[in-house]
């Protein structure tokens, strides 16, 4: 990452994230998961310890789905969510299948597939906006201390910089309660290319 974006570019980045955020809200609505009411996006530069604590206590045990993104947009992607949220996803899927009991393996697999669809929904809409191609690896879902999971994404940036660009979209219930957060840590070059394609540097 060779430089930092200014206020205007950061606002464009938040606008782009909202495209993905709204796509996920729509995805939830199609599945009749109406508890998820809104999305809120923030782009900011954070130091390593702040990234680790971004979602609260870094020792908090959470689920995190991790994907790498390649193509015209590159970087690392996490979808972090807590246990309640995991139950909500899997219970909903069970209802849809009319199957009240699943083995642990099936339940974990269903959770992974659900998250896979969610992150694809998020990024495909962002890619479509500028007709770019973005390839997501299949997400790996892991549960552990959120600090340990998230610092993994900082390794490349932190070899050179003290702060990194973190783009995140939080999904909220109508009550304001946090449902889950997509965290995207892009490479500088690819996000610059995307902003150009989006028209952000021309306006």
């Amino acid at each position: 990452m060779e430089g930092k974006f200014g206020k205007t570019e950061m606002e464009y980045l938040e606008e782009i994230l909202m495209i993905g955020g709204n796509s996920v809200i729509q995805y939830f609505q199609e599945l009749e998961m109406t508890d998820v009411a809104s999305a809120c996006s923030v782009a900011s530069y954070l130091e390593v310890e702040d990234v680790a604590e971004m979602l609260g206590n870094e020792e908090k045990v959470m689920y995190s789905a991790y994907s790498t993104i390649e193509g015209e947009l590159e970087g690392n992607l996490f979808f972090a969510f807590d246990e309640r949220c995991a139950h909500y996803f899997t219970d909903h899927l069970k209802e849809g299948c009319g199957s009240p009991t699943w083995s642990d393996q099936v339940e974990s697999s269903a959770l992974s597939e659900f998250v896979n669809m969610l992150v694809h929904s998020y990024f495909n809409r962002i890619a479509d906006r500028v007709n770019s191609k973005i390839l997501l690896s299949s997400p790996e879902v892991k549960q552990d201390m959120i600090g340990a999971l998230l610092t993994h994404s900082l390794i490349e940036d932190m070899q050179v910089f003290e702060a990194t660009l973190v783009m995140r979209t939080s999904f909220l219930k109508a009550s304001g309660e946090l449902f889950g957060t997509v965290v995207f840590i892009p490479t500088y070059d690819s996000i610059q290319r995307y902003l150009r394609a989006y028209g952000a540097f021309r306006r």
Binding site: E58, V61, Y66, Q105, M145, G147, A148, T151, H152, I155
Partner: protein, 171 residues
Amino acid sequence: MSVMRVKIGEVKFAELSVVLRTHSLGSCVSVILYDPQKKVAGMSHILLPTVRTKEKGQERSLFQSCKYADVAVPEMVRELERLGVRRRDLVAYVVGGAEMFRMSSTTLKVGQMNVASSKEQLEYFQIPIVREETGGDVGRTVEFHVETGELIIKTTEPFTPQAKRKKTTDS
């Protein structure tokens, strides 16, 4: 008993009744250097194995540099010597260096590289490792009780949504 927290990229030193604590090590490594006679210890939370060549020689603060194993360990040795500890009295503990995700790429092997670089530094300074708990795929929180030399490593138990639900119901 006071607890001194060591954040990512920091090194801290303590003596007697203090507990040194660092949270949520994933691929990061914590090296603890300890003089059991004088009851003085230093703890690091290392993010990366080595300083990149182009950064060598640049002015960097101790806080910034200590995210690298090849800077943090020498700095700890230097500071402990300044505090009156003899290098030959030191022992080391090495914890962390997990690979949190299975996805393979060179970058993601950084846990192993952090461990290797830390151990290389300890070998250079001829400091014996008395306990090592590294690798695997779990996050770790580490506490070191300076008075007793006790090292406590906490991990989370992996569970599936269903297994956790059963546990919750039982209680």
